[in-house]
Subunit: 684 residues, 2 copies
């Protein structure tokens, strides 16, 4: 485990750049540390001052007799390297660099940032930042940031790649009555990144919910592995900005962030079981609901009790659109309800208890509905009508004894304010709009369900010896057709029958073996656009062959040729692997043909993957209903597609120098056959 | 114009069922009328009481010497018909039926509701309801409803098919400082429906914004025509519940509503230029922003000025995802900004003016950005940081002189509360989250853009005489192949070359004319699944023909046959018409092949359509990028597809008895050819 203890629990802190000028950030941080109630030792470092805020100033950390646990650097970027060197020499192992002017300003800043990294390496120093706001640990009164207010203590740990965005998030969460175990501003993530913090938060007993705002992924593959483990115990909510190309460009100039396409992030979040969100509003909904639910398990089947028909309809729409289902109440429940409710009430889900329903009706109806085994969660809707006593109803909902989630949706403004305050006290959480409640609930359910599911390890066997033999023989970056097919065959991936030949006579013999139709190609790793060059032809007869072979032979006299069988199947897919700076190898499956690029029907995962990942990749495709056999048509062999994905994953594990791999098309039907494959290696 | 004046501006009102029992709705309504300050005459009608709330009660409206303008009926469903008859006889022409127990409870109620309609017809009586909350006109102090509070007066007219949903909507809008011109609860819409109200609101000078909550469409084609006209002057916001199948089922038991698939509603809303929304929260955002914008024209090109990088990135994402674009600031603007802002500020859009920006920086930067012709709208983001004076910044934004929309997004809780109050005073409107602001802005922009665009009338010429001749000859509900093709040809829609024949000899002759490949079919209007019955075959040679013809002849000895040319093209589409209970004829275009049903790639409009509608239907398709020629491929003939849609629209206008029409496939490439068509008529 990474040791960030001295970042969040330092016993002594030096602020290098602590200033007497109350407009300077160095002043604000030092003041925050003094005023927040931090009990450890505090040293202002400022060669130009005798004292800062009443404390005697040092000219350098080297004047200290013992190294401090944490050094905070708040000086102009130019002088940071020199001072960081001193921090290292002093024996301190943890520094926060608040100063901006590094990678986020471009090439010159990038070089300066690399200087810092070299110093860090030399002294085994960990650095948070540069270009950040600092860290906060409310429990020990540590406000080592220049944020204006100290968050309230609580169970939420928050890592943010934007300091300024953190301010409203912290304020809004505090105002919902919740608090923070830690806050850390990530800045440029030169050294400490989100995965270091995640690891610390994951193992921390004071943290129940982990929250992150990210503009980029620093160490994607570590993120996936870590998050998968943590997600079994704690929810992680990530707001990833820069999802669009333009947004990613803005992030680039904000925190020097590398872009990750939204489709990739989405796949990664599913794989890592991270709760993904796209707005601060939704973050607030999620942490409120997660806190209210505590250890309660939610499920897909949702019941509605409402005193208002319209909101019942809107909630039903939201339930279906978010992938949940409407509980089908049993006849027994309906009979019980008929005894509680007036004749014009609607006894089916949504249960409409009518506008004049009082607290007794709400209580009895909810209690009855909750006993139905078909009900996993209960949404209780109220709009203020004549005689509705929202407070009394809020109070009585708190008296329902159940281990199923109850989510009140009391709609309106001031008329339901007092009821909302009651909910905060009795650890129920009210939502003003059903859509908000259902969206948050659905995300939490999917997290819980995935956390319970055991990952089945990829145990696909591939022929390592054979693969090694093929790879060691290759002495150029791209593999030709036969090499590609041989590699796939060694992974037990079906390929078309094929044979290489040199001349017309051999070709005719091969053709007889393979039959019609067949494909004739020039054998070459270097010709990329073979179709456009006339180096691929479909062969329907021997005359066809002779005609095309003679043309090709003239065009490419020094090359060999290959004949391969034409494969029939139902649907064309594509499978690919490419290397990503943050995530390492990414595996992709997508719909083939003209729909590939236009409909962007594809899904991604970072390697390695589990059997579950492979299944999910396939079922996420828009064409999945077609693969599964829509409208009475036969399903394709889904197991064979899954096997292909798992085999490719294993191949790349065995041959990490694979830079890119493209099977296009993978023809699927009763089989899954890789009809064409392009593979390139990173060499050197 | 429908005359609803006596509904909203009655001079005299009778409440039939006005009760002394303060738990009864009849009491509440009468009390509301007294207390709300209504200046007209008020009569309680209650045969069992002498007085109600101090006013002498009548036993029947027939005791009145002059008919009242408005009768409100609040008695048990059983007695409503008798009383309504009396209302009719009294000479009153407008009634609100509050009582429930009609169509919403099933068949028995449905019959009772039809009774009411007969009475209404007999006496030329208009009815609002039954099963409704009533109407409110705050300006004249008319609260003819059993709602608890009187809304504040203002410029928003609101029609709601759910009384209970109206309560939070009214409360939240009032609490944002806005008010209502009228409120009407639609209930079961037996007689007065949303289009009647829409017509009244559209022409009303006191109404700037029209709002509706609907669970169904009563008179869809009228809605489209009306809304198109009104939308050029006023925005109409509609929240349509029951978008999912399950939601529609809930709506059915709530207000006896017929389902309309979401895809159809979406097409209709675009066609009618109605601002569609799916939550109360968004309604509030829209009315707030619409009111703040007033007559200002927004545009797609949006600039951001922010003191916080992260929110700038999130706003950029929201801009792109909602179909707006990020303004590309001119070099001139950037140069001006460089003089205003510190060196580490980001001068490109989003303009990051850094965390310590004060009101002067906000003002100067915003003013400069607003002068750039590339900027249509400005989003001003603030998160509260050290030294940020949110109130001062709010105040100074109000001093910017511009006819471009400025939308503040001050994020946070209590720390920006005072600033939000300032915005309300200076008619700017603040949003707490950029996603909310951008979503509302985008919807308003698209409404404004469409309102400015002139509709080009469908002037496609079809051969009416020819069409009449074909139709009059048909004496069964379904048309056969030749009749279908002839009808399309009369509309100048391309069909494949074809010929009907009786025997093998004739067939061989026809085949020579048509060439290979061709399609051989049994000519019949009654065989629906021809492919499955072996009644369609592709013919590649004369032998093919002889073989298949002989089999078919044996299977269908008494029928004729048809040979048609096989058409080549790039892409298969489908075009269809069907009759909808609410909207009359709906026209649909969709992607063909296996993707039709799975990807649900289709778009709908109600007939008649304009040229613009036809173009939009095509461009809404997911496969539109493919049609347009993605990735260097040639575009298909989009004009030909448009022409086909317009011709079909004209055909259905000319032959309204067409019940269903399906062109499947329409093969498009350089041409647009209807390869197969099925048409059925409503006869009798």
């Amino acid at each position: 485990m990474v040791n960030l203890k001295s970042l969040f629990y330092p016993k002594s802190v030096a602020v290098i750049g602590a200033s007497r000028d109350n407009r300077k950030i160095g002043h604000l941080i030092f003041k925050n540390l003094i005023e927040s109630g931090f009990a450890g030792l505090l040293y202002p470092v400022n060669p130009k001052a005798q004292k800062v805020l009443g404390r005697p100033a040092l000219a350098s950390v080297l004047e200290l007799s013992e190294p401090v646990d944490l050094a905070i650097v708040v000086i102009p970027a130019e002088t940071v390297p020199k001072v960081l060197e001193e921090v290292g020499r002093s024996g301190t192992k943890m520094a926060i660099i608040i100063s901006a002017g590094f990678a986020e300003i471009g090439l010159a800043g990038q070089e300066k940032q690399e200087q810092l990294l070299k110093i860090a390496q030399k002294y085994h120093l960990r650095i948070l930042g540069p270009n950040c706001l600092g860290v906060i640990n409310p429990k020990i009164g540590l406000n080592a940031s220049w944020g204006e207010t100290m968050p309230k203590p609580g169970k939420i740990a928050f890592a943010s790649q934007s300091g300024a965005l953190a301010a409203p998030v912290i304020e809004l969460i505090n105002e919902s009555g919740l608090g923070f175990s830690y806050f850390a501003s990530l800045g440029n993530k030169a050294n400490i990144d989100e995965t270091d913090l995640l690891e610390f938060f994951g193992q921390d007993k004071n943290t129940d919910i982990i929250l992150a705002y990210l503009e980029s992924f620093k160490n994607g593959s570590k993120l996936v592995r870590l998050a998968q483990k943590i997600a079994t115990k704690k929810p992680m909510i990530v707001l990833k900005a820069g999802q669009t190309d333009q947004g990613a460009k803005s992030a680039q100039s904000h925190t020097a962030s590398l872009a990750t396409p939204e489709k990739v992030s989405r796949g990664i979040f599913t794989q890592a079981n991270i709760i993904s969100t796209s707005s601060v509003g939704e973050i607030i909904s999620l942490v409120r609901l997660l806190t209210a639910l505590g250890k309660k398990q939610a499920g897909l089947k949702t019941a509605i009790v409402t005193n208002a028909g319209g909101p019942g309809v809107l909630t039903t729409d939201a339930i279906i659109k978010n992938g949940l289902s409407l509980s089908c109440l049993s006849q027994k429940t309906i009979k019980k309800l008929s005894r509680i409710l007036p004749p014009s009430a609607s006894l089916n889900n949504p249960v409409d208890i009518l506008g004049d329903a009082n607290e007794k009706t709400y209580f009895e109806t909810s209690r009855t509905v909750l006993t139905d085994p078909e009900v996993d969660n209960l949404i209780v809707i109220l709009t203020k009508q004549r005689g509705t006593n929202a407070q009394a109803i809020a109070n009585i909902l708190g008296k329902l004894k159940t281990n199923k989630p109850i989510i009140p949706v009391f709609m309106g403004g001031r008329s339901v304010l007092a009821a909302k305050e009651i909910f905060q006290k009795i650890t129920l959480v009210n939502f003003g709009h059903p859509q908000e409640a259902i969206a948050a609930l659905a995300k939490i359910i999917f997290w819980q369900e995935r956390a319970k599911k055991k990952a089945v390890i990829n145990q696909t066997r591939i022929n390592g010896g054979q693969i090694n033999k093929i790879i060691t023989k290759i002495n150029q970056p791209r593999l030709n057709e036969t090499e590609g097919f041989q590699l796939l065959s060694a992974c037990q991936i079906d390929t078309p029958q094929f044979e290489v030949f040199n001349n017309q006579e051999e070709g005719v013999r091969v053709l007889k073996k393979i039959g019609y139709p067949a494909f004739l190609k020039v054998l070459s790793a270097d010709l990329i656009h073979k179709t456009e060059l006339g180096a691929v032809q479909k062969i329907n007869s021997q005359e066809d062959f002779l005609e095309h072979f003679n043309i090709m032979k003239k065009g490419f006299p020094s090359l060999k040729f290959i004949l391969s069988e034409a494969v029939e199947g139902t649907i064309e897919l594509i499978v690919g692997v490419k290397k990503d700076q943050a995530f390492g190898h990414l595996l992709m499956i997508g719909a083939g043909g003209i729909y590939t690029e236009i409909l962007k029907d594809n899904s991604f995962r970072a390697l390695p993957i589990s059997k579950n990942d492979a299944q999910e990749m396939i079922s996420e495709l828009k064409i999945y209903p077609i693969l599964k056999g829509a409208r009475g048509k036969r399903s394709v062999n889904l197991g064979a597609i899954e096997k292909t994905l798992l085999a490719i994953a294993k191949l790349v594990e065995a041959v990490p120098e694979i830079d890119q791999l493209d099977i296009n098309p993978l023809i699927v039907g009763s089989q899954s056959v890789a009809v064409d494959v392009k593979i390139s290696l990173l060499r050197g």
